[in-house]
Amino acid sequence: MICIVCPMGCPLSVEKTADGFKVSGNTCPRGEKYAIAECTAPTRTLTSIVPVKGKDMVSVKSSAPLPKEKIFDCVNVLATITLDAPVKVGDIIVKDILGTGVDIVATKNIP
């Protein structure tokens, strides 16, 4: 696994131990935290687009990182939506998407 916390890009390896994980290859504590998160509950911010009737697309994002394995399911939810103008930055497009507790919000104004 390559660490993405900073430009160093340290090669990390993770071993499962009795009381958790042992990370090696990291040169700072943030690397350790990243490695454990990637092994236990990897998350990603989703950014995508949603059509607005008669207008250009509106860009959207997840208000917080989503579980990585739910990303494609969330995209499929977005595929069912068409909005009416106007849309404002910060408007909630989908509340609590797939029960994750995370909202999908607009990142652009479409007047």
């Binding site: 993405i4 160093m8 040169t27 994002k61």
Partner: protein, 421 residues
Amino acid sequence: MKHVDIVIIGGGPAGMAAAVSAYKAGIRDILILERDQHLGGILQQCIHNGFGLHHFGEELTGPEYAWRYEEEVQKLNIPYKLGAMVTDLTADRKVTYISEEDGEVTLDAGAVILAMGCRERSRGALNIPGVRPAGIYTAGTAQRFVNIKGYMPGKNIVILGSGDIGLIMARRMTLEGAKVQAVCELMPYSGGLNRNIVQCLNDFNIPLRLSHTVVQIHGKDRVTGVTIAKVDENRQPIESTREFIECDTLLLSCGLLPENELTKCAGITLDRVTGGAVCDSYRQTSAKGIFSCGNVLHVHDLVDFVSEEAELAGASAAAYVRGELSTNGRVIAVNPTGGVRYTVPQMLYTEGGDVKLFFRVADIYNNVTVRVSDGNNIIFEKKRKKVAPGEMESIALKADILKNINGDNITVTLIKEGEKA
């Protein structure tokens, strides 16, 4: 001819940040000329996140980052014109633009800030042999079709070039239903951020083919495939490694070129390496009162640094308009050597205050020392664990160091581990 204190060419992140900065420095008579129908420039189609960590301390998407500045421009009532394309610029700051609304207008500017951004290297400039079917796009063109218009330029894709836009588009196309067959990179390393390699390629099992290039494009009406090949250490394709990949689209992400046509119009001196103007520590070009910032000056990897540079250019232009720009002291030329490809600024003043010097390196180096010397003395040193061509580096030179420079030039060089210099 109408006079305007500061004319800013380009309403992207650089232009808007420069405008806000000039306003805050007390100038009110400002005009932003933007050729597109909206402010924000290319950020409007960069819908991914990762912007603003340095500048706003939070992670924003491109449109949100643009909106932060646009909101401020609106709030401060800084005048701007959309659909206004600047067609001519002279060294004595006559700016000619045309727009649907105004026709052709020439302005007499007290100061000009160049903030036109950059463009992508095209297929022609790459000279890839083969046919000219539909289905060959720069990553940015594809990004506009997908993110703004909501259309897919293809569904079976090969990407040439592993710069950040190429990586980001690999993920975008995949999320929207396409299959990305491979990302080919001519160099033995990617020019993109690690984070993008992990989250845009590895997450979706998209292979990154380092030291590979596209040697031929196939198809009559629409692309039907590409032939790729491994390259040797001189970046020449190795015949025996040719490999056909079936695809309907080739996306190009092979570098960005500053758009300096207007800069050339004004006869401003350009740096052959950056492709942008040669500038001093105020981001003033060889034409007095004409400043440059953002990707038109040199291609940045983070918009946060574009904003920082634009704020400096905006404040400098404001000082120039008021006759307060201090170019006192001796002029010192900054020469990049030994693994440093270029620096911005390329010149500074011994009495000009603190200077942050930005530079890029030629290759990946581990454990190097960045050294600045004036021929007699080492005036600054800084150790770096790792430097790479894809990441812009910077060093801060304090005013008192600059005051004591001997001679009229300094060199910035990388001292590699175990190397004596």
